[in-house]
């Protein structure tokens, strides 16, 4: 849907949520609004715009600019309409000669200290100061421009994405308040008083050196050109926009992709987007440059061997070549010798087509997805206990939480827009329990201190969860009525006997977890008795050999305390990638058809067989690690990998590389020649999220539209590429638009029965289940009963990982993410975000560093049982002694060279979070890093050779 560029509507002050209504008169027209609404907003809702400068509906009213003055019958003076709330019978006048004069006087003062360079100003035509001067009819400034002023104040251009030009600042504090109220970072302040007042980042530092996290909230809030995107300065105002969904993390923020023709100019967070409500982070807001980066490969390529140069070919030749090789492999090695990996970065429709091609075209169920290596335990654990493989809440529901548990997640880095929402609630007084080996930002940040930080030893989450449940039971704090009404009581009684055992007591588990018993007891009491308790968890829970057990432990705890089935509570998995939820929903696991229905269920299979016109295999296919093992065993010879970089993201890199080398036909569909593509024989050019239509489903089960903002650079969106390959294989697909694919999904999937593109246009987004029972979707799940009927308390025996520290490997390595980079970094490394994080570092506690003679910045060799790599040391107390930590955003880091093959017992999700290692100071890269560098050079050379040959011919 193309929309001509228009700034988003701004009602001046936030919406009141009161259910009580008040009627008043504005300029003689009767208006009815919720109690607590400002006069300014009431006027805006009735179609009257009161001029303003310091007010915006994203922030609480402030009342500093004095431009929004009105007259109110019976009141003295001219109250500010932004800070005056409506009253029944109030009679408001927004325009009069006297009001006009007062407003112009105020504007004159502002303009007397403002450069009058409107025609050459980057925000010309998109500036609230300019608009307001126009609205007020300001024609002259009596004070002249010769007096003391700020016109020569120096610009701060340190941030790669926006500039700060104090000469244009009117000191309205909108940026400062946005940083506080919306983002919650408190990086900005007003320094000085009176005429000296100025916006200052941290302690009068450059933005880049300050605590600013570059979320862009200040830029959105600025009513002048003071804070302006560099892209706007460079190319000017956009001319149209397309509403779409961010392709980074699982929050699923809604954005206006603002365009000039096919050129992306700016991403602006969409105020009506229900996941983000107008907020963004540095990735979604600014890091879109990768989409048109020079490294993009936009033409299909093939080669017979990975030692050959690539050859550019047409789409037709590429898919015909692939189909022939896949068919040859199947005839030589059997039907199950090929498979595919779908992507959580692609749309629901694309993921659906990949699994359809595998099941209907390949004739097997060898389809898996990257959720295997992140949230597969969530699917297993929540399905077992609650009956549905999904989170229970909306993000907005955290506003009603009284006690928040954050476990194995780092929302301010990995899910920043939700992190800001959470911080807001915490500043309002909600209590916080953090369960994490590291001292994450939420443990202590401006105006937020966790009530309890339980610094769990990596690998002992299940023990912590059992101990928390033990305390609740032991101290009689369980929600008996809720359990008796909602849960399977005989199973609960069995579980009660298990959890009541003294071996689970905090005192007896302290030596295992490293968490003081008193803190654990206090945290359990707080969660059980503090009101609405909401649990948010991430990969620090799932990526363990007991990941599924831990997820079930979380669900047990929530049911035990009655904390599922209403606003403000729940079990909330924070999904890493944008469409992890959707890729799982769409049948990407080898044992399940879309909607989490087992492939052995003949009724479900028949439904799909009827629609697809083929007979389906009733047995589960291979999971990703099984595919690698089978490849090394010589049984698995062909793989289609769409939008994932398994060579970088999966554990035990050397094992993965050996498996990829043994595959006879590896097809990679991606926007870049990623690490996996270096082992490929066919490269199908992928499309960025800006180049296609479709839907993503975020961690709240919210299905949102992805809309094409520019044509696909390769000529095909990913769903079209898959369709071409399927057709070449003889698996007929004839969709003309992704909406037709969604219609098919809806026909075949009970939880999606009511979903359509028309309804998405109408409602904006839909949280599944959406069907005849819940035609507008389901924001909160399990309200009256659990999806499985009665809630199931699963036994959660703690089985320690076999990956243990010993004398040879005395430290435990755990891994995670940081704010500016995303996953394997393929996208964000190709943006200016690398200015914040140019390399992965190894965090080490000062005691461990001192013991090994390691100083901050030293090169450190990290050896595990499976491999070794070298990273630079970051000596910090964020980690506790005995634990080291790194990220995996850069391929050269080889973070996964050292992670092991250990995996979750139920789902084979890798145990990324626990690797026993030893460290030593070194002076050169590891052997693997040297090999990686040389292999990368060879592959880049083969790419260039291919491109040169094609150019010559």
């Amino acid at each position: 849907m193309l929309e001509f560029y228009e700034p988003q509507a701004d009602y001046g002050t936030p919406e009141s949520t009161s259910t009580e209504l008040v009627t008043l008169s504005i300029d003689g027209v009767e208006v009815t609004v919720p109690e607590g609404t400002s006069v300014m907003r009431a006027a805006a809702e009735s179609g009257v715009k009161i001029p303003r400068l310091c007010a915006t509906d994203q922030l609480k009213s402030f009342g500093s600019c004095r431009v929004c003055l009105v007259e109110i019958e019976g009141r003295r003076g001219f109250p500010a309409s932004c800070t005056t709330t409506v009253e029944a019978g109030m009679e408001v006048k927004t325009q009069s000669d006297e009001i006009g004069k007062l407003r112009r006087n105020v504007m004159e003062l502002y303009i007397s200290d403002h450069p009058l360079d409107c025609l050459t100003c980057p925000t010309n035509g998109d500036c609230e100061l300019q608009d307001t001067a126009g609205e007020l009819g300001l024609r002259s400034v009596r004070y002249g421009f010769e007096g003391e002023n700020h016109l020569v104040a120096e610009k701060d251009e340190s941030n790669p994405y926006f500039t700060f030009d104090p000469s244009k600042c009117i000191v309205c504090s909108r940026c400062v308040r946005a940083c506080e109220e919306v983002q919650g970072t408190f990086a900005l302040t007003i320094d000085g008083r009176g005429f000296e007042s100025k916006v200052s980042a941290s302690q009068a530092e450059d933005f880049m050196d300050s605590e600013c996290v570059s979320c862009g909230a200040c830029v959105n809030a600025c009513p002048t050109a003071t804070l302006t995107e560099k892209s706007i300065i460079e190319v000017g105002k956009p001319e149209h926009s397309v509403t779409t969904t961010c392709a980074y993390c699982g929050v699923g923020c809604s954005f206006k992709a603002e365009m000039k023709g096919n050129q992306m100019v700016r991403m602006t967070p969409y105020k009506d987007g229900k996941a983000n409500e107008g907020h963004a982070c540095v990735k979604g807001r600014f890091a879109f440059g990768y989409a048109t980066h020079k490294d993009r490969i936009t033409v299909p390529m093939i080669r017979d061997s990975i030692d050959d140069p690539w050859k550019e070919v047409s789409w037709e030749e590429a898919v015909t070549y692939t189909a022939k090789r896949f068919k040859d492999i199947q005839s030589q090695y059997g039907r199950t010798s090929i498979g595919a990996i779908s992507s959580s970065r692609c749309t629901n429709e694309e993921v659906y087509l990949v699994q359809k091609m595998v099941r209907a075209g390949f004739g097997n169920n060898n389809i898996d997805t990257c959720a295997r290596v992140c949230h597969s335990p969530t699917g297993f654990g929540l399905k077992t206990t609650l009956g549905e493989s999904a989170g229970t809440q909306t993000f907005a529901s955290v506003a009603d939480a009284d006690v928040v548990v954050v476990m194995g997640a780092n929302p301010t880095e990995a899910h920043p827009v939700f992190g800001s929402r959470l911080k807001r609630r915490l500043r309002e007084g909600a209590k916080l329990i953090v369960i994490d080996p590291r001292k994450i930002e939420l443990v202590s940040s401006p105006h937020i201190t966790a009530d309890y930080h339980l610094p769990v030893r990596p690998g002992t989450n299940v023990t912590i969860l059992n101990a928390l449940a033990h305390v609740v039971v032991n101290e009689g704090l369980e929600a008996r009525d809720y359990i008796e009404e909602r849960c399977d009581v005989p199973e609960f009684e069995k579980w009660l006997a298990f959890i009541g055992d003294q071996r689970h007591s905090p005192e007896n588990t302290e030596s295992i977890t490293g968490v003081p018993a008193a803190d654990l007891r206090a945290a359990a009491r707080l969660y059980a008795t503090g009101g609405n308790g909401a649990i948010f968890y991430g990969l620090g829970v799932t990526e363990h050999s007991q990941g599924s057990t831990a997820v079930m432990g979380i669900a047990n705890l929530a049911m035990l305390t009655g904390n599922i089935g209403r606003d403000g509570v729940g079990v909330n998995p924070l999904r890493g990638q944008n469409n992890v939820q959707g890729s799982c929903d769409m049948g990407s696991f080898p044992h399940e058809l879309p909607g989490y229905r087992h492939i052995s269920d003949s009724a479900t299979r028949e439904l799909f067989e009827g629609e697809w016109g083929v007979s389906l295999d009733s047995e589960p296919g291979l999971r990703i690690p099984n595919m690698f093992d089978a490849a090394l065993d010589g049984d698995f010879k062909g793989l289609y990998c769409q939008g994932e970089d398994i060579a970088q993201s999966d554990p035990n890199t050397q094992h993965v590389e050996a498996a990829l080398r043994s595959i006879e036909c590896l097809v990679v569909q991606d926007i870049f020649l990623n690490e996996t593509a270096k082992f490929a024989h066919v490269f199908l050019p992928g499309a960025s999220f800006l180049e296609k239509d479709g839907t993503f489903t975020n961690a709240e089960r919210r299905i949102s539209r992805v809309r094409k903002a520019m044509p696909p650079l390769s000529g095909k969106a990913d769903w079209e590429g898959t369709m071409a390959l399927a057709n070449a294989l003889g698996c007929e697909m004839n969709y003309s638009h992704p909406s037709e694919i969604m219609d098919e999904i809806a026909r075949l999937t009970p939880t999606f029965n009511g979903v359509s593109y028309d309804k998405l246009e109408q409602l904006g987004s839909i949280q599944w289940p959406c069907n005849d029972n819940t035609p507008e979707g389901t924001p909160i799940m399990h309200i009256d009963e659990f999806v499985r009927g009665k809630g199931f308390f699963a036994m959660t025996e703690y089985v320690p990982t076999t990956e243990r520290a010993n004398r040879k490997f005395p430290l435990l390595l755990t891994t995670g993410r940081i704010l500016s980079q995303y996953n394997v970094g393929a996208q964000t490394r190709r943006t200016d975000n690398s200015e914040w994080h140019g390399e992965d570092l190894l965090e080490i506690h000062p005691h461990d560093a001192e013991e090994r003679g390691i100083n901050h910045g030293d090169w450190v060799g990290i050896n595990s049982r499976v491999g070794d790599t070298v990273l630079r040391a970051d000596v910090t107390e964020r980690v506790k002694p005995g634990v080291v930590y790194t990220t995996f955003h850069h391929p050269v880091s080889g973070a996964n060279v050292i992670t092991t093959d250990n995996s979750d017992w139920a789902t084979n999700c890798p145990e990324y979070k626990v690797t026993a290692v030893q460290l030593s100071k070194v002076t050169e890269p590891s052997n693997w890093q040297a090999r990686q560098k040389s292999f990368d050079k060879q592959q880049q050379g083969l790419l260039q050779q291919g491109l040169l040959q094609d150019a010559r011919s």
């Binding site: 298990f498 087992h598 025996e797």
Partner: protein
Amino acid sequence: MSESKIERLVSMINQIALNMSANGDDQMVADQVAQHLEKFWSPPMKNLITEQPSDADLGLSPIAQIAVQNLLVMQDAKQV
């Protein structure tokens, strides 16, 4: 058929059995382990483990051993 392939499967079954060990008595746990394998493992993996000689010392835990026998029964039942 490499030895490591079998070892890998044996280690996976033992891990599943250990993690389910609190679910009930040995027979119940073995049943649940077998159902888990049936539900999530691909046929080549199931076949490889069930085709091993019944007297072979694969290193399966006692419960895992019963689970594999149960899996074999389940597979045979499907053939009927």
